[in-house]
Symmetry: C2
Subunit: 243 residues, 2 copies
Amino acid sequence: MTVHEHGRYSTGVEDLPYRSVPEAAVGRLAVYLRVLTSMIEQGVTTMSSEVLAGAAGVNSATLRKDLSYVGSYGTRGVGYDTARLVEHIERLLGLTRHHSIAVVGIGNLGHALANYPGFPDRGFPVTALFDLDEDLIGVPVGGLPVDHVDSIPAICAEREVTIGVICTPVPAAQGVCELLVAGGVRCILNFAPIVLQVPDDVEVRRVDLAVELQILSFHQVRRCNGNGVGPVVEPIDPIAVSR
Amino acid sequence: MTVHEHGRYSTGVEDLPYRSVPEAAVGRLAVYLRVLTSMIEQGVTTMSSEVLAGAAGVNSATLRKDLSYVGSYGTRGVGYDTARLVEHIERLLGLTRHHSIAVVGIGNLGHALANYPGFPDRGFPVTALFDLDEDLIGVPVGGLPVDHVDSIPAICAEREVTIGVICTPVPAAQGVCELLVAGGVRCILNFAPIVLQVPDDVEVRRVDLAVELQILSFHQVRRCNGNGVGPVVEPIDPIAVSR
DNA sequence: GCGACTTTGTTCCTGCGTTCACAAGCGGCT
DNA sequence: AGCCGCTTGTGAACGCAGGAACAAAGTCGC
Ligand SMILES: NC(=O)c1ccc[n+]([C@@H]2O[C@H](COP(=O)([O-])OP(=O)(O)OC[C@H]3O[C@@H](n4cnc5c(N)ncnc54)[C@H](O)[C@@H]3O)[C@@H](O)[C@H]2O)c1
Ligand SMILES: NC(=O)c1ccc[n+]([C@@H]2O[C@H](COP(=O)([O-])OP(=O)(O)OC[C@H]3O[C@@H](n4cnc5c(N)ncnc54)[C@H](O)[C@@H]3O)[C@@H](O)[C@H]2O)c1
């Protein structure tokens, strides 16, 4: 499934001056996009970097540098045209085309994802569901019938699935991953708490909620212990006392 | 406050020599922890940094540096004692104590989280559920009855909830967040796609699946377009995928 | 007991990402 | 029309994280 003819999108991606967009910036751009669309719905047509940065929870300089990666489309003295900015960020992120999603493992989490309207609404239609459980095969979930895992390669290739979402138990995850790769899927979102081994040209993002909780735990404990020195004590630095 | 020789360690948290552990390292340590516990279940008692790094998907030098933050407990020429390593990582991450979780918004996602045994299994017992929907109040989910959102502050304080998980629709998220903070919760895991505004002493981690998908989309499109320099660069040998 | 091999812990360095700061540019006001 | 103030875009500095390389240290084999 090599994408040869991109020329069809004349307003397309190929003439963007994008080089070396930092990984972190890509994630933030997606956040800006969400804030912007929300603002547009409220009728906002122009935003300054200061305001947008505040809403996105980042430094305004960082925001402006991030936006410079998509090209300079702001107006000095005024700010950014929200609609135009959305358009350009979407183009950089490759959202001008739709990306079909396949969800594998229609258990608790898989059900929630399959029913979630936020994905199709944002250009990520769920076009395939898979499970091993015979009782689930053929049952429609969110309007789409569940197929058997064995048909992953064929169906993914046929429906041009670009993103595979793994919601199976840990022992099944690696195998499912390989089936997806065999079906031509090169982007994987993995909810199973395991590090998947994949070829170099496959991109995996892992969503590990237990890790998130443990990071929160770390900060919680650290906060109570000050800088790790001495027993549990109130913060030593009297920052509250201003000079 | 002195960091005495850490050849001797008592079981307490207070004399850990942890200072300035990089944020990224904390996340990786949680991953090592998972790999290690999995290995221990398989009877592995010793691991080298090379092997552990491979399983965790990181560079071995990075791994050793990360482990140096928890103290030097490896044996040169042999590797790390898995059980002891787990013990020390858990201590650094503050997992020696349990952290009660409250889930707010018992919809699709909230149900999945409330039923997920992986949280209590890892020291994060779910001790409170909240929703606005009258039909849900009192209904047990995962063995725990749902309470009304209005009782968030009281119940969170009473049950000493340390982590609040927000699974409500976007418009409700900020309000729910404030209720949690009022109940003394200072760590929040937010699934609603919105940037929460919180006091400085509250730590928020956002899990935004749409952002994850968009990052994957970016890489997908970029891969097809080469490195952005010049027009579309085609991979000479596409993988042996049927076209 | 001793040597050689293995692996850790650490140091140095390179590269990236973030922030500061400021000149350039644009709109609005008088 | 010209000036003023506001905001962008970017160059430069700073801080930090990640990777390579190496010396110390401990074990295993003989
Ligand atoms: N539920 C949560 O809140 C939650 C939170 C964090 C992580 N996770 C992780 O997400 C994954 C799924 O969680 P869940 O709660 O939905 O589990 P679940 O048990 O409810 O669902 C798992 C589903 O996968 C299917 N399955 C099993 N083997 C399969 C295979 N080989 N191929 C395809 N499908 C297979 C099962 O039939 C079942 O429908 C797990 O790895 C879990 O650790 C879940
Ligand atoms: N379901 C998914 O797969 C998914 C994926 C990504 C993000 N999210 C986000 O997670 C959140 C929840 O998603 P969901 O699919 O579970 O939605 P849902 O509609 O199934 O559930 C939302 C729940 O929140 C409750 N609620 C509404 N207002 C409330 C309030 N003020 N206080 C407390 N509870 C309230 C509702 O009664 C309902 O039970 C949403 O913000 C959604 O965008 C969900």
